[in-house]
Subunit: 220 residues, 4 copies
């Protein structure tokens, strides 16, 4: 497609990025859009209580499972966006298979508002266990999809920028490994204790946020 | 508009892309936004069942048509975004007519959540046939709009980047031809067998995903 | 802010656009996002009819005012996005006042789904006149906001790219003048004939689309 | 990550921005997406009144608290986007902590549609005080988050572009200081007078818009 361009001329460098690079940009932009919309749609789960005998403030206070689920989902999608972001720092081209693995990840991310509202509405019902298991299970699927996407991209440095530090690439592979284990634990925990399962999901979002901040304090 | 700039100076190349190129960027960004929002709004079709005698899990299981429609629509919009994406790899300028043909395509893409919820709510009613026909019919219209858009852009290489490989351009023309035929078959099939019609729509999304991956394994 | 950079070095040209240019990009991206979301939210007005005696197809057919309002609003927002797009081809920097005039325009654009659903739900009630007047009135306000924004930007070439063709700039000023007149006519027409008022709104979207395509066939 | 590139070659300058710069771009794009979606979702608070004895126009007129809350929230999110925008003019790299402080800000911004609909539905009920306090309280949290984000970024010029004018940076620090004080006053005022509290919120949006426009008339 860009066969006739001279890669060493500044003009062609600025005006005609190779197809791979250009398309990485569009995949990032599309993914960012999906993350941004999914995180913003969470607010639609917050429902205004209708006027009741006890007044607005107690009615709002009774909705605490909704706020808890909102905060946890917001933090988790944000951490996932940051991770997606970091992953693309190292990826400099795409393939068809990569686009569809990324699509699988986005499928689970866009689904998050649904288990979030399941937990909001069923946390104090007899179905709390099922709701919490589905909630943690969704995050487990996202963590698995992240690993599959990254393994595909980084295996044999398939799609990795040759300028990337191989140590950084291996560090991401190591870090991502823990996600599925932790979220599968949260899934199992739902059958034992609903608060423990949701608490683990919330703790994981905070943990990943903090380790993310510590690990590369300078410039990621 | 950019008459006074020197196209061979690196500064002007970096700072003042010609109007056509700049506007291709904005058309892509706007289209990406619309695709990203349409794909994310699909989740609003997933409704939390109210507490019922049988418990949450059976109530969720009874919603299987909703999940099937959700997955098919998600995969189809994703494949269409990938195709839109590939098409713009070759297009380097826009015209007014192109913008409006692209708008017609986006009109049908943004409408997808509506037939998706039609199928979700009517798959097990006596109106399943009509719902499935409208669902496949929407995809037929999208496939036709894709062909019209691409024929307009590629006819006489009207809007095609002169650096594009003519073989790649012809390959897209050949591939796109099949979409309307397949989706029109799914439309007709709805009057014979609803599961066959929906199954064909789901299979087409998977088929286009896989052939897309095989066809250009290296760098699209 | 960019005082220490050498504008003639290719490196600084590529890496440090002046503040004005960078911010035009963000205003365009933000505006594009708002247009893309507003146009996609229109689909939420399409409601799945509940199962009724007569079947799904007649129930859908009875919703024709909804589809008419959907198509007209979609086409109008699209035309407005194209116009916004063309306007920014000539604007190369922003001011605080410009950002807020652009915000006023976006306020009216984001409001469009509301009058659209007013018309959808009241077109066959005794309130059709009021609904149609509010619908056309919203477009009148958008057309006025467009004119105010452009007059501010183009007055004395305040924010116009010095490389822009003054004839192109004056042509936009001339074209924009008609919008408020036509939409005010549609507003007044609502009190005489609701179909004529809505028909004029639909015709204007098509008219602007076609004249837009004819006027600059080559490269806008 | 970019260790092997030659920063003085025009080609690498155009094609391989340093990680920090690239990621600032994605943070801005993601944040813009969230602001754009939050501001556009506000329209979902505008509900079409059902046909009533008195007609559509009086029914719409009775919804004035909804329009007031809509306009105030729209203007406030827009001003906040402009501020976010200006802040990023000076920030040229990110850290993990910065990404999460920005995420905290976005959390409160995405929540705005909820207190907006609280005020819309409860402004004329006995719970108006609580609704107005929560509304102003949300803006107070946003103003605090803005200050924390900026103090972190600008403290010791941590993430500030070395080419930024230190006077501009200090001016932002001075201006931002007032937000929390004003919004905390609006919060307290809600317990005394609901109209005064909401009026202050509306006035602040207009005030920040106007001072923003005056302060840097030339090119922000």
């Amino acid at each position: 497609m860009a066969a006739s361009q001279d890669p060493f001329s500044p003009e062609s460098a600025a005006r005609a990025p190779s197809a791979g690079e250009k398309e990485t940009g569009r995949v990032e932009a599309f993914s960012d859009g999906v993350f941004a919309i999914a995180i913003t749609l969470l607010v639609l789960n917050l429902k205004v209580p209708t006027a009741s005998a006890g007044g607005l403030v107690p009615a709002l206070a009774r909705q605490w499972p909704t706020y808890l689920a909102y905060l946890t989902s917001f933090a988790t999608i944000l951490v996932m966006w940051v991770n997606h972001h970091r992953l693309f720092t190292h990826i400099h081209r795409t393939t068809g298979a990569f686009l569809f693995l990324n699509g699988l990840l986005l499928l689970f991310v866009t689904a998050v508002p649904f288990p979030t509202s399941l937990v909001s509405e069923h946390l104090r019902s007899s179905d709390a266990r099922a709701a919490a298991a589905i909630y943690a299970g969704t995050y487990f699927l996202i963590a698995v999809a992240f690993n599959v996407l990254w393994r595909y991209a980084s295996g044999g440095m398939r799609l990795i920028d040759p300028r990337s530090n191989p140590g950084d690439v291996r560090a991401i592979t190591r870090n991502y490994r823990f996600g599925p284990v932790f979220y599968f634990s949260a899934f199992l925990l739902a059958f034992v204790s609903v608060p423990a399962s949701l608490g683990l999901c919330a703790a994981l979002a905070i943990f990943f946020a903090v380790t993310g901040s510590i690990e590369r304090p300078a410039d990621w």
